[in-house]
Symmetry: D2
Subunit: 358 residues, 4 copies
């Protein structure tokens, strides 16, 4: 190295040191990492089996009490690509929650919003601002941002369900507020399932409903209604699959500004076209069996299994039995911020490797 080269190198070294010392960073050394040509998520496609989730949740039911402070007996899906963060994807928290017979989880509220999707059984109700919402298999229950909520198991058997939260995003935005209710549980102040009586109409709303509420005032979406809607959609489109979105009936938009909830029915033997979109999804197999191919990895699944697709991953589903796949996504965020893109790929992906569900 010539002395001139050496001088330049010395000056550069000094410059980079001074920059770092003043809490600055050059862009030019990391442009490509910060701005890849397309999303390169660290989150991995991953699957958790229902058998294992249920067994671990049941062990938690024996070993762990539900108390103020810990608040919930919840096991969170921790994507192995996310460096130990307790998130299913960079934007979504996914988990199983477990309540023993005649047990309840204390009332609180928080700025993150949550959805509950019931996989099995009945007997629990979630009270949301005084409205007790009965939870039965296939139901979707909302606990929107900053609503008081607790869960009570009034039955003689344990109950387990899926929890989805926008928590990672709310943390990333430094926007988490949390408050304990003054008592362990809030009173039920209305007849059970009042929101469905008020907002659960079939193309009707109470006269004078304020339009454009950001969070859905309808708190429960019943499985029989969902089943009927899927049947109708399949009849109408005449295809092998039908996809619906759960919506806020006051504006036809996603149930929350931060999370979208979807249900996908695929008939036995049916498959979906390879598809990718900006934003991630957690899928929960409500019923049926089959496999999905995500970025070339195959995930076999059956009832109760949960799996995640990262942003921009190519996803295709294959149903062996007729299947209903519930999904929670971050799509409303991406649409609100003008960042949503999606596309169908022409050919089914080659499956370059096989990832057997554990």
């Amino acid at each position: 190295m010539s002395s001139m080269e050496t001088d330049v190198q010395v000056a550069l070294d000094k410059f980079y040191a001074d920059v770092a010392d003043y809490d600055l960073q050059p862009l030019w050394t990391q442009t490509r990492n910060l701005m890849p040509s397309h999303p390169k998520p660290e989150a991995l496609p991953w699957l958790w089996s229902w058998e294992r989730l249920r067994a671990l949740a049941a062990r938690a039911g024996e070993l762990i009490t539900v108390e103020r402070g810990g608040e919930r007996r919840v096991l969170g899906l921790a994507n192995p690509g996310l460096h130990g963060l307790p998130y299913a994807t960079p934007t979504l928290w996914g988990a199983v929650q477990y309540l023993n017979a005649h047990e309840s989880a204390p009332a609180h509220r928080h700025s993150p919003g949550a959805i509950r999707f019931v996989l099995h059984g009945e007997g629990v109700w979630t009270t949301v601002n005084g409205d007790a919402c009965d939870m039965r298999a296939g139901d979707l229950i909302l606990t929107p941002s900053w609503t008081w909520h607790d869960h009570c198991n009034g039955s003689d058997h344990p109950m387990i369900w899926f929890d989805g939260l926008d928590l990672p995003t709310i943390i990333a935005l430094d926007a988490v507020f949390f408050q304990e209710y003054e008592d362990m549980n809030q009173p039920v102040t209305k007849p059970h399932n009042t929101s469905t009586r008020i907002y659960g109409g079939h193309g009707t709303l109470p006269l004078g409903t304020t339009a454009h509420q950001l969070h859905s005032p309808l708190l429960v979406y019943r499985w029989p209604d969902t089943d009927e809607a899927l049947t109708g959609l399949l009849e109408a489109n005449g295809g092998v699959a039908a996809s619906l979105e759960f919506v806020n009936p006051t504006n036809g938009r996603a149930v929350m500004p931060t999370m979208g909830c979807e249900m996908h029915r695929i008939v036995a033997g049916g498959e979906t076209r390879p598809y990718r979109k900006v934003g991630s999804s957690i899928f929960v197999v409500y019923q049926g069996s089959g496999y999905s191919v995500i970025n070339g990895l195959r995930f076999n699944w059956g009832q109760g299994d949960m799996f995640v697709a990262p942003s921009w991953a190519v996803v295709e589903h294959h149903a062996q039995e007729q299947t209903d796949l519930f999904a929670v996504t971050d799509k409303p965020i991406l649409e609100a911020l003008g960042l949503f893109r999606d596309e169908y790929l022409l050919q089914p992906q080659e499956i370059s490797s096989v990832f057997a569900a554990r």
Copy 2:
């Protein structure tokens, strides 16, 4: 009169003559008429009885054929305050339509939008852009602006229903377009009632539905659903009356930008608070009996009767039997233009006179 006064008068007379001659009009002579302190509609509160409407419609069924050109066997409610115009109110067309057994009305489309509310029977379907919508008692059927539509009676008996149109407003705006379909009837291109399969979910929509469609893509609102929603609302509010609005499920707004559709249930013995709003309504008694007091005039009604309330008229309803009152209004127009106002009056109005339903 002095000569000066005479001169002034002559000058004024000449002035007013010159103004009129140049197609001008002074404001100052008519300010109070043009701008009253509150709305002073020329339309009268009025009632048409079902018995008479049905009888006249049946006679039309014998005497009049449904043909291209006349297009429909429809008798329009002609408010006696409106100087011979065939309008129920200044903004709303109301009518009974009558189809004989195995008769059909030719396909056409027009920029005015229409709603159909079925009072009795079944057997007719209205085809809207290829989607045949079965019409049964209590159902609301939409034929939105510029959609092809025809009515076919596939049954062995005549059928009659209520038609509501925004026609007077569209005429006032010089915005009427009309087109005959190339054949007498359009083909049914989908399974009957396809819109309900696609958009008739209970808090769900097809994934990817375009938000904010100006006209509802859901074309039929079934009576059993409406009945269930009214029952739920009454349970939730614990009162003597419940009011719902039929909405566009893609945005939670009125079914059309020009007309709102409502259903009001009042329990036996119940009454509503005196209320007035800007804009007019046509009420159709779907079931029940009772009376309404409109600007102090009492109108007794029973099943099938139709009556109108002009803008800013004080209205209260009294149900003798449990009653379901369907209403079509111009409220979406007034809200869109920033002109809607309403108020509840504290005390039931004194009934200063009695207008016995004819």
Copy 3:
């Protein structure tokens, strides 16, 4: 006529009489009139010359005092096709208003909204809810629905301007409210032209401005700004004409939900493509000269002349000198109700007749 024919005729006559007697009207006898294939306005294309308007307004200034009750010295354009109604078009009121030196018009408010477009001079201010808006040639001033407003001439000479109101529509909707201010004039409670200080920024708004206000909170649009915007638009599009809309800066929409305000600049020798739209317009020639062809009728115009184009009329403008045409329209109504349509015609219309401006 056979006896059977006679019997039928008798039955029909009796039927039509009974129908009329019960305040009903058959549709089938008037379908084509009520529903023409395209709008067939009764309003005529018409022109009023500035010379005549000014002369008559000046005579009114000598003969008529401005008093409570009459409220304003205003001469309204009365379209000769509208059967004596004092309307420029079925939806728009257009007029000239005249104030003598040091005269004022009393304060009131009404649900119809108004715009003022200044043709000549200065010295008057319109006070809107306490904000005195100075009026100068080329300025557009708003007095939105239900705002207190009065006009004061603080100068030593008379002043005259154009008034546009949505009055016909508000009357058609039975939605007129009117209230006199308790005193003859309201106090000016803020520095003159406060609305321009708050909302008159160039791409800026006060931090925290509530979005989506139905009426523009900006009350004055100054001619120098309008002139500059027209110049910029012409530079950018490189054409012979440029058209801008005055907008509510809080939402980018029309200044009022019932009226749109536009300015069209056409360079000397330039002409616009034949164009028609649903809805009517009043044009006011701010400066320049030329002629317009409306449905084949030619109207020559110069500074201050006013003319109207009915709904669906084909309009083309030809500028002899560089021209600025102000227009007020009912377009926001038609768009809100889903009724707006427009189209450019390929070829300039043949001028089938000539209507010389009077």
Copy 4:
């Protein structure tokens, strides 16, 4: 420890190990950390001085060339609380960019949006989709999401400005797309500053502008306009401070869905009330001097200094000279997601410690 206690502990240890091994995490052990009672940002309040930034940027100008790959000579503010991430706050990238005389930075586009705020000088233009936007002191220039952009210095002296990007959020959402333009620079296809000619009106827009564009089509906000708007706001509110937001003229909303841009003028000796909001801000001192107190820490500042306020930090500003503080925030995201909250505190905070600007 009893043997039973030991057994339980063994079972628990085994349970937690099994949970971790299956890529799950218990919630109950980390509820309080994940859900604090209010936002507890890791980002620190911090200040970077203009003198140091300019000196380091100038050294970069000597040592570093601007090339394809590195793309820009930019030094990013790296908040010392963010563990080495090159972000000013968790949602905002802030930086200084430096171009030597007659140098240009290559054309590219990316899904993150950017704003440029000019501190000194002139002579550079940023071309955005073919529209060259001249950059002068006090101007705000937008390069919205996915617009081609490059920067060209046409002058004989270096130029430096502030860059703000939503990059951290777009990375967190796995939504970054990036593309190089095929050539080093894109052609300028229109007269310079065309967007201001089209969308830069004062309450006017081109007739027919599509409402509700997510990103502002106006790309430049000129300092003289901003200065005039601040002067007007101060006159109108009669206070010691005025705050405006730069808006998208087609909808009155933030210039981008992901970033808000504000300008705050404080008169000499004026101070603002202690205030906190959800979401973070980068402040850039355009002119003036004074200090801010953020969560009790005092930051002295003068022209060109940049400082950040984390989410929910209490901020008050004190101006010694008349000051114009530019700010870029993440507020539009928080509002769109229903997460925005703010409050004014009653009393100025006690300054518990002093942090002297370095």
